[in-house]
């Protein structure tokens, strides 16, 4: 059995989580202060996942770029491939917060969605 110390990345609380592992089997998780922490610890030991945030080009908006975020975590090892798609994406204003910008990126089941609304400028 091995013991792993993790820092939860879900929120700025940054809980220190202890995990007991037997091979790929997680025996126990402690130190988390919410269910997200437990879920994080389980995934972190097998295949780490992260929320991806970035920007996409906007045409006709108040700003040149729009912040976007994945609707759920995607595997960390796919982050750069996902960025290649994000970088090529261009959209037009107006946009509403939560609008799907890229559907099911890299078949991860996660959508890339708008982090904010942006009005169009004429």
């Amino acid at each position: 059995m091995i013991q792993k110390e993790l820092v939860c990345v879900n929120c700025p609380m940054g809980c220190r989580i202890s995990v007991e592992l037997e091979g790929d089997q997680v025996l126990s998780v402690s130190g988390n202060s919410c269910p997200r922490g437990k879920e994080y610890a389980l995934k972190e030991c097998i295949r780490p996942e992260r929320i991806l945030t970035s920007t996409v080009k906007v045409n006709g908006g108040v700003h040149r770029v729009l912040p976007v975020i994945t609707s759920k975590e995607i595997p960390l090892d796919m982050i750069f491939d996902a960025m290649e798609i994000v970088k090529k994406t261009e959209i037009s204003a107006p946009i509403h917060e939560g609008d799907v910008i890229i559907h099911d990126i890299l078949n991860t089941g996660a959508d890339v969605i708008a982090s904010r609304s942006m009005k169009a400028v004429h």
């Binding site: 879900n10 912040p67 904010r116 609304s117």
Partner: protein, 419 residues
Amino acid sequence: MKNYQAIIIGGGSAGLSAAVTLKKNGIEDIVVLEKDCEPGGILEQCIHNGFGLQTFKEQLSGPAYAERYVKMAEEADVLIKLNTMVTKLTADRVVEYVNPEEGAVRISGDVIILAVGCYERARGAINILGSRPAGVYTAGQAQRYLNIEGYLVGKRVFILGSGDIGLIMARRMTLEGAKVLGVAEIMPYSNGLPRNIKQCLEDFDIPLYLSHTVTRTFGRDRLEKIELCEVDKDRKPIPGTEQYFDVDTLLLSIGLIPENHLADEAGIVMNGVTRGPVVDDSYMTSVPGIFACGNGLHVHDLVDFVSLQAARAAEGAAGYLKDKKDRGYIQHVNPGENVSYTVPACVHPADVRGNVEFFFRVRKPMDEAVLEIRSGDTVIRTLKKKKLMPSEMERAILTAKEIAALKDDVTISVKEVIS
């Protein structure tokens, strides 16, 4: 001169929360003065996630968190003046501002709430040798260029200071295709949140050089190279430890300071450690009717606490508007051993309005410690604490009963337990 019941300076997370809370408390005649072209403040460029877990029980990006407050302000019919820069504040609560529509205007308020945010320490604050080439930015400046304006400021990057914005920019610029060669921190421990060390540096194999600093820049028109040195326990560079990195960009993430010029000019008593105003339990400053909250009061690590404290400041302001009474004598709440400051810094035992939550930071990292709240010779409370760090704000509560019973100043200290 037009008078408002309340003038809120700043339309970021603190200002919007204060405005919404004032409206909830029946204060209708208010105005928010915001210098940017849209409300939301610094959150608009903080496109990463992790905001709102306390306030909304959800994990939001900065812009999404801001948008919730902007919507609440819209629904509460809050008047927000955009592109409006406040140029002066006086102790008799007169505010001068300028904007493109109205020009220079003078207004007064029955109360003023300072929600002005903070600014970044820049290169001039730390005296790095070298000329002044392009390519040296504060981390927040580079963040604004990238996340709002859409410009990546460089391709080979070094970051000085392990503050959260620096760490987040290390990841952000890496994702955008830049090579981040390292992050240096002059202290022997990181100043950023542990989660950001993990997900911004370790995830991308970006080295963190603790007890190191940048001692020299090379390049005249554009940055070409930096010199990195290890430092001794007095934070002095150690000769012979020089390393060189070919970079076109140096980001500085070396601290945030409350934007205190307006408060200073109005004669408000400032705290030498937080560099923001000294406030009581209602978040009123030393000048009656002027309140302070958010990063302009003290620098926070969670926006959720900014919103929360701003709401308390607004409740304090609403209370003051009702009777404008003097709340009687004060007892100070002082930082003791291993504590660098406390906010609020005083209470009024003769006029207790409820439990008071104190925010404070420890001076050094401690694995195990005991928090002690003491008044004179009386120990009011002790509490065991684990894993304390200067980068993580701590909280402690005094109950209404405890405050009413105070006979002496209060000291909050943290004693390290060496096991």
